[in-house]
Amino acid sequence: MSALLEVDNLKKYFPVRGGVLNRRLSDFRAVDDVSFALQHGKTLGLVGESGSGKTTIGKCILRLLEPTAGSITYAGADITHIKARDLRRLRSEIQMIYQAPAASLNGRMTVGQIIGEPLWIHERLKGNAARDRVLELMHVVGLKEEHYYRYPHEFSGGQQQRIGIARALAVQPRLLVLDEPTSALDVSVQAQILNLLQDLQDRFDLTYLFISHDLGVVRYMCDEVALLYLGKIVEVAATDVIFEQPKHPYTQALISAIPEPDPDMQRDEIILTGDLTLATGQGCPFAPRCHAQLLDQCETLPPPLLAIEPRHQVACHLHGESA
């Protein structure tokens, strides 16, 4: 089985500027050597706290951002440095769904125009043919025909997200990068959208890169999960492995912090001290917050991401060769 998407040693550094000349003083490593593979038809979850680099990875894949280093392979072709004229073709293969539906929809266009625009751009489809396709897409995502001439602001957040999904589907993509698609929604509406996404995946044979900070949602949606901490993957494995046998102390803490709606749930809650800003730039980035018994190298050597099982990788000295 070959991967539909492969990301190898991806780096995205942002310049930190300062001084009177606004010179580049140093680099901020938003994504720092990230590798993963996403199999056709599957869903890979990308989890981490805000600022961990999730959106940046998504934008690099869509080539909305230029990677600093590394390579991105889609359906066997290297798309890392794809030419501007080939971008349109790429965008008909890979689409992105954003967290804030309102901000990502043009408020001056009707729902029909919003969903129809990509049909015109990519297929030069217009008139009745376009209208029929738009109505079909609206039906697929659970919008009604009478919504065609309405404007996005007339809709609730959940309905707006449906509009965004219909627009993304218009070009018949194979891969969707979903960037916190339900974070702004209430739980009852979130459930509707998650179920819709699952239906669409089965129906159109879609592959998802599912970005979220909500581990409960990720558990429901994903086949595999990668956890990010400060731009690096700290653990990746099949979803049930991540939830049943988390190895990285950060994964363990995140899982224990899921606010489950069950007051009886017996668990050893791990409360981390401090926040992301504590990283020292040396050793393991998580070391200053780690609740495990630290080894000497934790504070001096960055732990590499190593396979402890065939499909389970962890970046932690406690689970390395030396442990």
């Binding site: 459930a191 558990r219 939830f243 606010p259 709606p261 007051p263 409360i271």
Partner: protein, 341 residues
Amino acid sequence: MTDLLNIENLHLEFDTYDGLVKVLAGVDLRMRRGDVLGLVGETGCGKSMTALSVPRLIPMPPGRITAGRVQFNGEDILNKSESDMEAFRARHLGMIFQDPVTNLNPLFTIREQLVDAVLYQQAQGKKVPGRWRGFAPSARQLRQDAHERAVELMRLTGIPDGDRRIYDYPHQFSGGMRQRVLIAMALAGDPDLLIADEPTTALDVTIQAQILRLIRSLVSQLGLTVLLITHNLGVVARSCERVAVMYAGRVVEEAPVRELFRNPKHPYTRGLIAAVPQKEVTRGGLEGIPGMIPNLIDPPSGCRFHPRCQHVMSVCRQTVPAPVTVGEQHSTSCYLYEAPK
């Protein structure tokens, strides 16, 4: 024992360009001293407005309370004068809100803001430090005391190095630390009731866990009474002793936290719990609640949940269900549980 807080049949409307929005339609809520009550429900159901009716911070106009009352310690709040209200807030209430960024002034150090909060409480007659009783303390002595109290509050809320960090500006603190500062400010006057409106919603999960633990420890250390508002059932399950579930301007169910999660009665509560992707739920198994929250300009008749309810009966469309007792300290407003007349 009289209730610390007793909200009865509260009705609130907003006059808007599009029409009259019937935001609260008969909210009942009681709290005793020492209660930790969670108020849950989805966006727009009236949680914040219910909470803001206690300090009377609802903007009026456009808001208007058309019926009901709010009692604190047996005293009616709604007809107090504005100046009495100011003293009342300072003496009895502490408040924290969702977004720590907008609630701290970036131009002043934590010391200036926290010391001000303490001095303000004192000016409102809350506390005269024991050792000055009988003397009129100088402004400098008061400030010195307030400084010490501020550092003490920072320690209490788990801000390390308070005596040094008190000179920092808000931007030098992380989101979680700023939320702690706001909690410290809310505690400055030793409030009888702490109102926390979505205190962890803007925070990452690991920081949320820290803040919830802090609130729990303040409850046990200080015997605080807390009204915790959240849209997150998991937050309630972790932090509260009792829960009130709101839907479209009414409390539809109320119970001790275990009872509510083990034995939810109202179809909305059940739907809300079933909509959370929990451990056991496998692919395709999550249940949403069909439809969406109603427009409160023209709210559904009778039970406001009826257009989304699977059990709707004709009576549900006609009259508003009254709360019925369905278990120990457990009540719900739904015709499914009303004994046939």
